[in-house]
C-alpha cells in the first residue's frame, strides 16, 4: 500500500470512527443523567425578605435559582434569549444586574431592553421580596450582544403583547 493510499484510507477511517455509533455511551447515559440530577450547581446565597405575613424575616435563595428563573421569564415574555445574567452583590444583597441578550433582526432594541429591564425588576422583587434599597430599572444593565435572523419558536411565545 503506498503512502498516499494510506493517507486516503486514514482519512476515510477517521470519518468512519467519527460517525460510528457509540454503544458504550448508550449504556452509561442513564447513569450520567441520574448523577447529574442528584448534583447541585454551585451557588451563592442571596437574601430574600418577607416584609409581611406570619413569618417575617430573611431567608437565603440560591443565585442559581434566581438566574434560572430570570432566564426562563425573559425567554417566555420577550422576543430574545439571555446569554448571560450577572449579579453584583454587596454581601448577600443584590445591588445591580447585567443581562446580555441575543435578539432577532428587526426588533426595536431600546424598547426591548426597557421591557426586559422591567421584567427583571418584577422577577427579582417576586423572588427576593422588599429589599433596601430595592433593585430598580436603573440598576439593571442590558446589553444586546448578538443579533440573529430569528430565534427558536419557543422563544417567541408571549412576545411583545404582554407589555
Amino acid at each position: 500500500m503506498t503512502e498516499s493510499r494510506t493517507d486516503a484510507l486514514m482519512a476515510h477511517a477517521s470519518d468512519v470512527l467519527r460517525n460510528a455509533p457509540e454503544p458504550g455511551w448508550d449504556r452509561i447515559s442513564d447513569k450520567v443523567i441520574r448523577a447529574l440530577r442528584s448534583t447541585s450547581a454551585s451557588s451563592w446565597p442571596l437574601d430574600a425578605h418577607a416584609s409581611e405575613g406570619p413569618r417575617l424575616g430573611t431567608v437565603s435563595v440560591s443565585d442559581h435559582v434566581l438566574r434560572t428563573h430570570l432566564a426562563a421569564e425573559i425567554r417566555s415574555r420577550h422576543h430574545c434569549s439571555p446569554s448571560s445574567i450577572e449579579f453584583f452583590v454587596d454581601g448577600h444583597e443584590i445591588r445591580s444586574l447585567r443581562i446580555e441578550l441575543t435578539a432577532p433582526y428587526g426588533v426595536d432594541l431600546a424598547e426591548l431592553s426597557d421591557r426586559v429591564r422591567f421584567t427583571v425588576v418584577d422577577v427579582v422583587h417576586l423572588i427576593l421580596g422588599d429589599m433596601d434599597p430595592p433593585v430598580s430599572a436603573e440598576s439593571v444593565h442590558i446589553a444586546v450582544v448578538d443579533i440573529v435572523d430569528d430565534l427558536p419558536a419557543e422563544e417567541n411565545t408571549k412576545s411583545h403583547s404582554e407589555h
Partner: protein, 192 residues
C-alpha cells in the same frame, strides 16, 4: 462583589441550538441534559481511546458532566462548550492515573486478513479488520500523540482548541499530531 456568570459563546457548537447552550449555561437543567446527550457520545469516544477500563470511562465521563454542571459559573465563552467539556474530560483522564498505556502492537494484527492485492482495506470483508488494526495502532501511541490525533482527526478540532484541552501550545499539539500521523501511517502502510 460580582457574582460571576457566563459570557456569550465565542463559537457556537455545530448542530446544537445556541439558545439551548445559553439556557444550559444559565442553569437550566433540562437544557443542560440536552448538552449531555449531544456531547456524551463524543466524550465517551474520546475517553474510551484514552482509558483501558470500562468503569474508568464511565467515571470520567460522568465526572466531566457533573463538574461542568457544578462549574457553570466558570464557563467564560472563551472557547466553545465542546472545547470546554473536552478540557474537563482531559483533566479527569489525567487525574485518574489510569491512562491506557502505550502497548506494543502485535504485528500479527497487521497481517493481511484477505491477502488479495485487489482487495482494498475498506472492502466489506476487511473494513472492520482495518479499523480494528487502526484502533490497535492508536493504542500503541503515547498518550499525547493518541489524544492529539483523536481530537484532530476524529473530533475535527483545531490545534488551538486541542492545545486548550491538553494544556499544550498549538505548536506542541501540531508536533504530537505529526508524530502520531507518521507512526500510524507506518503501521497502516503495512496493513493490506
Amino acid at each position: 462583589m460580582a457574582l460571576p456568570d457566563t459570557q456569550g459563546l465565542a463559537e457556537a457548537p455545530d448542530g446544537l441550538d445556541p439558545a439551548t447552550v445559553d439556557a444550559a449555561i444559565l442553569g437550566d437543567r433540562e437544557a443542560f441534559e440536552s448538552l449531555v446527550h449531544y456531547y456524551g457520545p463524543a466524550l465517551h469516544r474520546y475517553a474510551r481511546r484514552m482509558l483501558a477500563d470500562e468503569g474508568d470511562i464511565l467515571e470520567v465521563v460522568q465526572d466531566t458532566f457533573v463538574a461542568a454542571w457544578r462549574r457553570l459559573d466558570s464557563f467564560r465563552g472563551e472557547s466553545s462548550m465542546r472545547t470546554w467539556l473536552f478540557a474537563i474530560c482531559s483533566r479527569k483522564i489525567v487525574d485518574s492515573y489510569r491512562i491506557k498505556r502505550a502497548q506494543p502492537i502485535d504485528d500479527k494484527l497487521l497481517d493481511p486478513l484477505v491477502p488479495s492485492p485487489e482487495a482494498g482495506p475498506f472492502d466489506a470483508t476487511s473494513n472492520s479488520a482495518f479499523l480494528e488494526a487502526l484502533e490497535e495502532a492508536l493504542g500503541e501511541l503515547p498518550y499525547r500523540q493518541r489524544a492529539a490525533w483523536t481530537l484532530r482527526e476524529v473530533e475535527m478540532l483545531t490545534f488551538v482548541q486541542i492545545g486548550k484541552i491538553l494544556r499544550l501550545t498549538p505548536d506542541s499539539v501540531r508536533g504530537h499530531h505529526h508524530r502520531a500521523r507518521a507512526n500510524l501511517s507506518e503501521r497502516m502502510t503495512r496493513w493490506r
